[in-house]
Amino acid sequence: MKADILIVGGGLMGFSTALQLAKRGKRCIVLDKESPGRHASGVNAGGLRQLNRHPAEVPLSVAAAEMWHNIESLLDGDCDTHFPGQIRIAENAEDMQLLEERAAMVHALGFEHEEIIGQQELYQLLPALVPHCKGGLICRNDGYGRPFHALDAFRRKACSLGVEYLSSARVDAIERKGNEWRASTPKGTFRAPVLVNCAGAWAVSGG
């Protein structure tokens, strides 16, 4: 079978890629070795976090937060998202110093989502916290969703836009023939000029 783009892996990466491409009129096939979201996409803590990202990840996580806050305009469901905020806590003056440096670094990159809060606000937000903490670094619009439900919503939206999804179709081999990639699976061989590897922990083995 032939498509514009082959996507290996039916997790969140795979379906998000497929969904975005399908919205732009591309014909995609998602090949999955098991069932949708069987591994890390289906079972994880579900955190939607910008706080404390590596500087290189900050712009991407801010763009992702934008997407998650407006998820219902992209998908047919809210993925059970909630945004109560996330806080990194300083237990002593030394920790507090580190958090302030971190906040300054993020501001210098041109972002405002991480801010310092003092002891008083910290205990207003977290009254059950042990009493000796000094303050914290907060990202007020961080939150969480339900991972498998999110994956499910991405899959259903992608498929409603024409993405073809094949479960139990483990890619056993990938080869380049002319301008085409060929992926062989127990459900047949699939061809496309572009192949995206979204196989998660199996990405290296190609499966």
Partner: protein
């Protein structure tokens, strides 16, 4: 308790008891772990403490257990009652709670003799207080002499239903009705197996004698009953059903149901043993050979936990597995094992003559297994209904594990013991994968509830 044994046997029913005694006789260092407070399993429960009168009411088959239990008491087996096993892995590391104290022990050889459980079968109203399993009713009677005070309706399909009716009738219980949900067409289904079953004719004779007794006592027994339903608000008030095309209602505050038994496979699954779908027994059973060897080296399975064969079969299978363990651990040669096993192998073959007939006769109709109405709760722990399961299938979740991911069915304290098979049936009937292809819930330790405190109080030297 030592931290290592040559052979650890889990479950002190007929298979575990018989195995433990033989293995100890042959010189193995044996630990027998059992969750109950006294040996006997479900079938021979309370054997050592039961008053003579009650034991007589339970019949000769029950009293057979006395020999097994006293043989254990006379043996060198290290027997640990009140011990729950919450983990087993392929390295034969066993996580347990002995009198609520956690421990990890290891074994050269493990024998699972975890027995059977009643097949949970959702039907409208099955979660109402006052609806119980027939097996639970029988346990209350065996262990405590408790019988229904205000009458009872018995319903379902399977030999236990008849046995319990007979026991209750002799104990003076007011049996309002026995509703047999076995469809008439099962007579035809079972007919080809009748000649072989006649080789174990004593079982058939016994069944017929029970029926005759019940009839003489004037107990109302209705056959070919369908559409069973329990009604009530806070608890059961009545049941309704159809019989000969007519809908009927009986007022009752107790309904005991029974739909056959299935192997208890949670530990075998947690260890990673391969299982196959057995379409004639309508259940999953672990792969095993004649000697109880599972798909994992050093782990054996015997008794009803390996496939339903009944108490006597379990006893023989237990001895065979024990001899195999003794052979594997090098205390006897293969030919010695074969010699010692001769009688048990012969008797086990005799016992199994009845099985195909019973399996066919009490085959649960597909309709009963897979068509509770949308509002019926299937997973009691997480309160997931049949309708939610069907919606999940319609949205592309084609096997029970995917449905579990989405709906949380099977994720509660019972870890899917109660709903796994029902969910598989509903998924298959609603257009998902067949049961054999779709597979069973993936089971992981702990297989029974364990508190963080209990886990944390494990001696650190015992964990890796």
């Amino acid at each position: 308790m030592k931290n290592h044994y040559s052979l650890v046997i889990i479950g002190a029913g007929p298979a575990g008891l018989a195995a433990a005694v033989v293995a100890a006789e042959q010189g193995l260092d044996v630990a027998l772990l059992d969750e109950q407070g006294a040996p006997g399993g479900q079938i021979y429960r309370a054997m050592e403490s039961i008053p003579a009168g009650r034991a007589e009411l339970l019949g000769a088959e029950y009293q057979r257990g006395r020999k097994l239990v006293s043989a254990l008491r006379d043996s060198a087996v290290d027997y640990f009652p009140n011990t729950q096993v919450w983990s087993l892995n392929r390295k034969r590391e066993i996580g347990l709670l002995c009198d609520n104290t956690p421990a990890m022990i290891t074994a050269d050889q493990v024998l699972l003799a975890s027995g059977a459980m009643e097949r949970p079968l959702p039907f409208p109203g099955w979660t109402l207080p006052g609806v119980m399993n027939a097996g639970a009713g029988q346990i209350l009677f065996k262990a405590h002499g408790i019988i229904p005070a205000d009458g009872v309706v018995l319903a379902g399909s399977g030999p236990l239903l008849l046995l319990l009716a007979w026991q209750y009738q002799h104990a003076g219980v007011n049996i309002k009705a026995v509703l047999d949900l076995t469809p008439m067409r099962n007579h035809l289904r079972a007919l080809p197996h009748l000649p072989r079953a006649l080789l174990a004719g004593h079982y058939l004779m016994k069944g017929m004698a029970y029926k005759k007794d019940l009839k003489q006592a004037g107990i109302c027994t209705l056959h070919n009953v369908a559409e069973l339903q329990a009604n009530g608000k806070e608890q059961i008030e009545s049941i309704s059903f159809t019989h000969r095309g007519k809908k009927q209602t009986i007022e009752t505050d107790l309904l005991l149901v029974h739909f056959g038994v299935i192997p208890h496979t949670q530990l075998a699954r947690a260890a990673g043993c391969q299982h196959d779908w057995d379409s004639s027994q309508q259940c999953w059973s672990p792969q095993r050979d004649e000697w109880g060897n599972s798909s994992i080296d050093g782990i054996q399975i015997a008794g009803d936990g390996a496939g339903i064969g009944g108490a006597r079969t379990a006893e023989h299978a237990g001895r065979l597995a024990a001899l195999q363990a003794v052979n594997t651990l090098g205390l006897i040669e293969g030919w010695e094992r074969d010699l010692l096993a001769r009688e048990d192998r012969k008797w086990m073959r005799e016992e199994l003559h009845i099985r195909p007939f019973l399996d066919a006769f009490f085959h649960i109709p597909g309709k009963l297994l897979s068509v509770p109405d949308d509002g019926t709760i299937v997973c009691r722990c997480e309160e997931v209904t049949a309708g939610e399961i069907r919606t999940a299938v319609a949205n592309g979740h084609k096997d029970s594990n995917q449905v579990k991911f989405l709906t949380r069915c099977g994720m509660g304290p019972c870890q899917g013991r109660q709903c796994a098979d029902a969910v598989e049936n509903i998924v298959a009937a609603a257009g998902g994968e067949s049961i054999a292809r779709g597979g069973h819930y993936r089971g992981r330790p702990p297989v029974t509830p364990l508190t963080l405190g209990q886990l944390a109080s494990l001696d650190p030297g015992e964990t890796e």
